[in-house]
Symmetry: C2
Subunit: 326 residues, 2 copies
């Protein structure tokens, strides 16, 4: 702990607050008639997620001038519950065997258990979020509806070598950036911030969310097994991530044909080939540059806000996204 | 239409109002960024559901003294959206091929599409319901969380010949009666009714919901293919419904052994055997008597309310549950 900077310490503290509130929430549900459902969902919910969405929500609330962190905590938890619900269902759709180094919920139990546990967390998330103002509920519902639209677009483009960068951004905006933006702007609404401040924090959320997803997609190509999920999951599933889309555009002739062949007939013994092609196309560098651009824009979006600890920590979290390994 | 009684005409009119509002809601979503998700979910949503939950909600609102039907319509629609979400996911869990005579959503598209479409409708349902008072949102979330608990209990008792009537009621209270009760009592809350009236309508919902589910389970054993789903789905899946639980208790010796064998090794050529055993045990009569009891209790629960058209129609809908074929 001593090696952490002050800012990281503060982020840690905020994350601990989220964790504690989440654990209290779980304990409370275990005393109610839906306890069997929470017993099932608990492991996934408390299995060491990084809590980026709720942490960013708490910071956005403070950066927007909010003073009573307790009044926004349920909203922050709602974002984490809904996020976890989508992860459980994604794991079924992706037939993923592990997440964060542990068996996925549907692998440990059954697919039906996975579907029900995800539904349950959706419901709890909206139960918490539904107590806020109508415009917050509206935004949450719109955002969650767009998660579904993003997922459908992703399925549509599986193994589609003609997928464009615009398609890619539509997918990640629906699935990842939208929920980050919603967490930030709803928290600002709860702080009773002016519309321009809500929009500022919304913009921050979009940019940070994009950076996070781009890092995720890059890690899938470069990461190591200590990430908790095997490298190359996306490639095996035919998901068209930005480095791959970029390489398909940049390469020509025999290299382009080779890349198409690698993608269409991928197996683990072709990692070397794939990495070489992506490097030759400059696709890793391109993705890293885009990540930096999103981080820069996230930082710039906050310029109009007064300098506060919360603002500094938001910039810190944006920068951290780049360096994370999991 | 001329052969319908006045009351049925009124129920039809109310159902038509629900249908029209639902269609308008669907049309509106098709103009938004989540249109691809609604395109997918639309067929299931508009494929001729009977709209019992929203219709009962509108009636409960009026019976509780509410005057502005528009102010409760979104709540009524929320109950139908959430109900449809659970049907889509149930069909995946049950591996059902058809519903209402049409291919189930996951059969027509893919399992992933089914999971996403269900999630989407959950979200829209809570988006609509989340705009109401906190105690209404609380009740909706609690009810939906208990749907999950009921489903898990049902899975636990699959093919369990030791399932008790108490287990059965815990399952159907979670999955069916709870949502009926929630639709009624939330509508009464929205009408600003006194607590005693809210409780009265809550009680009505529980009893009608139980009657509906018992009829469903009886139809599974006695129904014909015109129901839209094949007879005996529950038996094939090993679901322990009340007539079966009753017969397992009542039969002894060789008949009990034969019933266990029929259930454990069921195939369509054993229908005659199963029906004979259930008749011999008096299980059809028993289930019919319980249905009548729940209808009677539903009717009695309303006695303290002033006589209104809405109250009469609620009694009508309770009685209709007994005679329905689908």
């Amino acid at each position: 702990m001593v090696s952490l900077s002050n800012r990281q310490m503060s982020l840690e503290r905020l994350r601990d607050q989220v964790e504690e509130s989440l654990e209290n929430f779980v304990q409370d549900r275990l005393t109610k008639s839906d306890a069997p459902a929470m017993s099932l969902a608990r492991d996934m919910l408390l299995s060491g997620g990084k809590r980026y969405r709720p942490t960013v929500a708490l910071l956005a609330y403070q950066a927007a001038g909010g003073k009573d962190l307790d009044s926004v905590m349920d909203l922050a938890l709602a974002s984490e519950l809904i996020h976890t619900a989508t992860l459980i269902h994604d794991d079924i759709n992706d037939q993923a065997k592990t997440r964060r180094g542990l068996p996925t919920l549907h692998s440990a139990h059954s697919q039906s258990h996975g579907i029900i546990a995800g539904d349950y967390l959706f419901v709890l998330g909206f139960g918490l979020g539904g107590k806020f103002d109508a415009r917050i509920v509206d935004r949450m519902a719109e955002t969650s509806a767009n998660i579904a639209a993003g997922e459908l677009l992703q399925i549509k483009h599986i193994a589609d070598l003609g997928t464009t960068p615009e398609d890619y951004y539509a997918i990640i905006d629906g699935k990842t950036a939208g929920p980050f933006a919603s967490a930030c702007s709803c928290a600002a609404m709860q702080a009773d911030a002016e519309e321009t401040i809500v929009n500022t924090l919304d913009e921050f959320g979009w940019e940070v969310g994009r950076a996070f997803q781009l890092v995720d997609d890059l890690l899938d190509l470069t990461g190591d097994p200590s990430m908790g999920k095997p490298r190359g999951t996306d490639v095996h599933e035919g998901k068209m991530t930005l480095p791959i889309i970029h390489a398909l555009t940049m390469l020509h002739g025999i290299e382009r044909e080779q890349l198409a062949d690698v993608l269409q007939n991928f197996s683990d013994d072709r990692w070397g080939e794939l990495t070489e092609l992506l490097e030759s196309a400059g696709s890793f560098e391109y993705a890293k540059q885009l990540i930096q651009n999103h981080i820069d824009r996230a930082q710039e979006s906050l310029e109009s806000l007064p300098d506060t600890d919360a603002k500094s920590l938001m910039i810190e979290i944006a920068k951290l996204s780049r360096g994370r390994r999991t």
